[in-house]
């Protein structure tokens, strides 16, 4: 026998000593220790990395929810008796207009001597009123003779030896007559939009107060701006309802407001022949004392900050009320009251913030979010206040003409819980709402940072994708695992996995450039197919079950599949062909060009019938394409879960005379429910986070509806779209991180709920 020649694996002749035989080799022990260390490090590393991302995102968004930080930086001395203060961008050379008409600039950082300019001397008359527009640095000067003049203060930065020197320059224009009788100007304001300019003033003529307005033009020539000329003067006195107290001219150059002692505001708007009284309103009419202590524009001049004599603080904005056609003022914001009338006011020249002082209480408020950014009882009673152009200094002048400079740090005034998640009454809107519009075309644009439309958009996209994907994926998984011939299964599963590996940018590209234009014109076909294909499946099933047993058994599973596929193809083709027919029958709108004729076009019918939008890149397209991306994921996991149901349970059910369908629905599906549930949740997670498809296949409009024929903007697409617009550490940058955090939390919440439910289900359907 050949056995004897083979060496025995047990060599009994020389047994090794026991210690050496049982000892584990050093290299084995070393490798074991090293590998367990590496694996442990890897595991901990992953947890640390995920936590690190979380902490980093949190770190980026936390500053959004901080208030303003204000602290005393320095103090100095202001010229005595100043009636008006202005400050440059760098808060180095504040200027003060004294009662005698001299404008004095002091130097806060260097040691340049105070520089005085005699404005009264330049205009040749005594200055009786002055109004500063901090945005442009223009001071409107009211003169004793019933005219006004404009003083433009420009700060120029000069550099020598690498050091900055701020040099104020003042241009004083010639006095312009306001028309009418001569007298002291008590208040004046000037608004300039570049094209339209308007000045309004209160003039005391022989003991009576008159309100006058002039419309100005400035001829522009090749060599620069020309002289400002009066185009027309307007006497508003007869129209004003009470005793005028103050005037405000809009920087749009088309209107002015007259505030009266009685607590009313008259809104005059420019028309061809002059001005019309468009609106008269009393902002504090519901208060015991309706008188107005302060009325000033907020940056942008479409909102008015108003304080009553009792300290009530409101903001009114210009908007078109529902059912009307012109913009009028209406109350949009209500702030916490101040302790009394306002003694000083200023506004930011960059944001919608304004600062009001009542007694010694200074309060920095932000109009958009209706929030108090900072409020403090100061150790002095400020008389004048100014915010620097860079929004980083607040200057106060107290009763004894001391100048107090405070450092202001408020990088994200637009941000707040309310701004992100609450309704906000934005300027120009007729009601509070949720809006996302982070950037605008003008400097005085109000950023709208509500996350709600983005959340709604995310949910909308996810909803439509899952609506399409879940029935298909779960039925396909059930078919592949319970019904299909093993040869079909062996072919379908890898195919589905290939489908999962398609890059989403390709799907998005296909959706946007190929699918969307097809669906746009073929909506009735798509609807018909959605109706016909499932019903064809049901009808074929009924017919099949009615067929003789012999036929069914002979056909086998392949025969069944062939019949079904042919049936579905025929149903699909019928739907495609029948769509235009259906459109002609049902989806018609009257032809506006030819009365009596109707146009068959679903795109026109949908808005006419439902009042909702129809867009080419809509949720239907996203639903199809994102569904396409989600189907393989749900299919693969659900198929595994269904296949893992013990064969003994299936056999048990079948042996009792249950059909395949009864077994699948009553036994397999409930037993695999935990796995199917996690498949759905993972699909949901994928749909929530999906970016490229929604980015390319929707219009990215942050709207708030569930209309299937309109687009959406999802959180993830929003990050992709806005990233190039977001300066590092700016409010938008951090708001985008907040969107990322929301995505993170949403996925986290979905996964947690899914896991808890899955454990629960698994416990319930645990099989031995």
């Amino acid at each position: 026998m050949s056995d004897s020649t083979e060496p025995s694996h047990l060599d009994r002749a020389t047994p090794a000593p026991a210690g050496a035989r049982v000892a584990t080799r050093r290299s084995v022990l070393l490798l074991d220790r090293a590998m367990s260390l590496i694996i442990r490090l890897g595991g901990i590393g992953i947890i640390v990395a995920v936590l690190g991302i979380f902490v980093f995102i949190l770190w980026q968004i936390l500053p959004l929810f901080r208030g303003a930080a204000v602290e005393l930086a320095s103090s100095g001395r202001a010229p005595p008796g100043a009636r008006l203060m202005l400050v440059d961008e760098w808060s180095e050379r504040p200027g003060f207009l004294g009662a005698d008409g001299t404008l004095t600039f002091i130097d806060l950082v260097g040691d340049a001597p105070a520089e005085s300019i005699d404005l009264a001397g330049r205009v040749g008359a005594q200055i009786t009123a002055a109004h500063l527009r901090p945005t442009t640095g223009t001071i409107a000067l009211g003169l004793e003779d019933g005219s006004f003049a404009l003083a433009d203060v420009n700060y120029r930065a000069e550099f020598d030896d690498g050091r900055r020197r701020v040099v104020p320059e003042v241009n004083v224009g010639a006095p312009i007559d306001l028309g009418g009788g001569r007298g002291r100007v008590l208040d004046v304001d000037y608004g300039d939009s570049g094209r339209d300019k308007v000045a309004a003033a209160i003039v005391e003529v022989e003991g009576k107060l008159e309100v006058r307005a002039v419309v100005l033009t400035q001829r522009r020539t090749l060599v620069g701006a020309g002289r400002i000329e009066v185009r027309g003067a307007f006497d508003a006195t007869p129209l004003v309802g009470g005793t005028p107290k103050a005037v405000l001219a809009s920087s749009k150059g088309d209107s002015f407001l007259v505030v009266t002692d009685e607590g009313e505001i008259d809104y005059f708007f420019a028309v061809d022949s002059g001005f019309e009284l468009r609106q008269r309103f009393s902002p504090f009419e519901d208060q015991p004392d309706p008188r107005i202590s302060m009325a000033e524009f907020i940056f942008g001049d479409v909102s008015l900050a108003l304080v009553g004599v009792d300290g009530t603080n409101r903001v009114f904005s210009l908007f078109v009320p529902e059912g009307q056609s012109v913009r009028t003022w209406g109350r949009t914001k209500q702030f916490p009251p101040l302790p009394g009338p306002v003694s000083a006011y200023t506004k930011s020249t960059r944001t919608k913030a304004f600062l009001v002082v009542a007694g010694s209480l200074a309060s920095l408020r932000f109009s958009t979010t209706e929030s108090i950014r900072w409020q403090e009882e100061l150790p002095f009673a400020p008389r004048l206040v100014a915010i620097s152009g860079k929004n980083d200094r607040i200057l106060f002048v107290d009763e004894s003409s001391r100048l107090h400079v405070y450092a202001l740090s408020d990088p994200h005034p637009e941000a707040s819980w309310r701004a992100f998640f609450g309704r906000i009454w934005y300027e120009g809107a007729d009601r509070p709402g949720f809006e996302w519009q982070s950037t605008g075309g003008t400097d005085d644009f109000e950023p709208k940072l509500s996350m709600v439309p983005l959340l709604i958009g995310t949910l909308k996209g996810t909803f439509y994708a899952l609506l399409f994907a879940v029935p298909i994926a779960v039925s396909a998984a059930m078919y592949a695992s319970q019904f299909a011939h093993w040869k079909v299964r062996a072919f379908v599963k890898p195919l589905m996995e290939v489908m999962a590996s398609l890059p989403s940018v390709v799907l998005g590209f296909l959706a946007a450039l190929w699918l969307a234009p097809i669906i746009e014109t073929r909506v009735p076909s798509v609807l018909l197919m959605l109706l016909l294909i499932p019903s064809a499946g049901v009808v074929l099933g009924l017919l099949w079950s009615a067929a003789p047993v012999a036929v069914r058994n002979r056909a086998g599973l392949f025969g069944e599949l062939t019949v079904l596929l042919c049936g579905l193809l025929v149903a699909g083709a019928l739907g495609w062909i029948g769509g235009p027919l259906l459109e002609r029958l049902v989806f018609t709108v009257p032809d506006p060009a030819e009365p009596g004729r109707r146009i068959a076009d679903f795109r026109l019918w949908w808005p006419a019938f439902t009042g909702a939008d129809f867009q080419q890149r809509n949720s239907l397209v996203v639903g199809f394409m994102m569904g396409f991306a989600v189907i393989p994921i749900i299919f693969t996991i659900a198929e595994d879960a269904l296949s893992n149901v013990p064969q003994s349970l299936r056999s048990g059910s079948l042996a009792l005379g249950a059909s395949r369908w009864q077994t699948a629905v009553r036994i397999v599906l409930p037993t695999a429910s935990a796995g199917i549930f996690s498949a759905l949740m993972i699909g949901l997670g994928r749909a929530v986070g999906e970016t490229m498809i929604v980015l390319m296949a929707t219009g990215n409009t942050p709207i708030m509806d569930f209309n299937i024929f309109s687009g959406m903007r999802t959180l993830s697409a929003n990050i992709a779209v806005e990233l190039p617009e977001a300066p590092h550490h700016g409010t938008l940058y951090r708001a985008l991180f907040l969107g990322a955090m929301l995505l993170f939390l949403m996925t986290f919440a979905v996964n947690t709920v899914a896991e808890v439910l899955r454990q629960h289900l698994r416990e319930r359907f645990r099989t031995i």
Binding site: P646, S648, S651, L654, G657, A658
Partner: protein, 324 residues
């Protein structure tokens, strides 16, 4: 010796060389080396001319010894004639003919892989679940043909209950488990379901143990209780034939005793075909015993005769524990 070597080559080589999958009595499921090893053991001990192995090696059809008592005990509810089965290329059952008398308990015994389970899984066509199974021959229950394309498999399975080797209660309540067969048949009346549930559980001798917790999950029962629950589930639809595929192999002796006692009570009410590895069990519970070996039915007769006085050498060797 050389002639035997040649024979072995013929046995293993024939099906592959011919490339055919037709029913061949000489195609064998067991690897040739094992067969030769077994054959050499028998042949060297004694003359085994009537053994199955010898017949296979001699390329001779095997004969089934059927005792007259079985043939006389009419009517027969299950009739199997010339039944063969292939798993793909491999033949698992060779020309099996077996009749089961109404109301009797028939035990199928034999070593592992002899085709007992395969045979009873053909009675309710559960082998359909396995791809690539092909059968030939005749198998009828009452007047109905079980094989053949005209058979309504679902209807057939309603007439044939089955209890599996491993208890397989559904992840549902005890009540829902028992009435599952009625539910899928469309029975929705609560009173009927309650009545059937109680009757079936009483038949399965489980009623007293679970009557207070019918709504609890069936998975909370012990192994033996679960198996009796499966029996209750199988008898709830009043099947004509009850198939049991090693129902006690996963149970402890106490539970086994209970199930055996239960089978004794079911005798006469249901026709039972039971596959078992345990010869004592077969001796205890059955009226008739069929011994199967290498995919062939070797001997079929009254249990007492099979165990006390078997006519075939293979049967005697098996029941006396010389192999298996």
């Amino acid at each position: 010796m050389p002639s035997r070597e040649l024979d072995r080559g013929a046995v293993t080589g024939a099906p592959h060389a011919a490339g055919t999958v037709a029913v061949r009595p000489d195609a064998d499921p067991a690897p040739s080396s094992i067969l030769a090893e077994r054959a050499s053991r028998f042949v060297s001990a004694d003359d085994r001319s009537d053994s199955v192995i010898a017949a296979i090696l001699a390329n001779r059809p095997t004969a089934t010894v059927v005792h007259a008592e079985v043939a006389e005990d009419v009517p027969h509810i299950v009739k199997i004639r010339g039944f063969s089965l292939h798993y793909g290329e491999k033949q698992a059952l060779h020309d099996v003919s077996l009749d089961v008398p109404v109301g009797k308990v028939v035990a199928l015994i034999g070593p592992s892989g002899c085709g007992k389970s395969t045979l009873i899984r053909c009675v309710n066509r559960l082998n359909d679940l396995i791809d690539s199974v092909r059968t030939s021959g005749v198998l009828t229950i009452g007047e109905t043909s079980v094989l053949g394309p005209e058979t309504d498999v679902i209807g057939l399975r309603k007439r044939v209950g089955m209890v599996f080797q491993k208890s397989n209660p559904f992840p549902k309540s005890i009540f829902e488990n028992v009435v599952y067969g009625l539910r899928i048949a469309g029975e929705g009346r609560r009173s009927v379901l309650r009545e059937v549930c109680e009757r079936s559980l009483r038949e399965a001798a489980l009623w007293d143990e679970v009557k207070d917790r019918l709504d609890e999950s069936a998975l909370q029962l012990s192994g033996g209780q679960q198996q009796r629950l499966c029996i209750a589930r199988a008898v709830a639809t009043r099947p004509e034939v009850l198939l049991m595929d090693e129902p006690c192999s996963a149970l402890d002796p106490v539970a086994t005793a209970k199930v055996e006692e239960l089978i004794g009570q079911l005798r006469g009410v249901y026709t039972v075909m039971i596959v078992t590895h345990n010869m004592q069990q077969a001796a205890r519970v059955s009226d008739y015993t069929a011994f199967m070996y290498l995919g062939r039915l070797v001997e079929y007769g009254p249990t007492e005769a099979i165990f006390q006085n078997p006519r075939c050498r293979d049967t005697r060797d098996y029941v006396t524990g010389r192999f298996g």
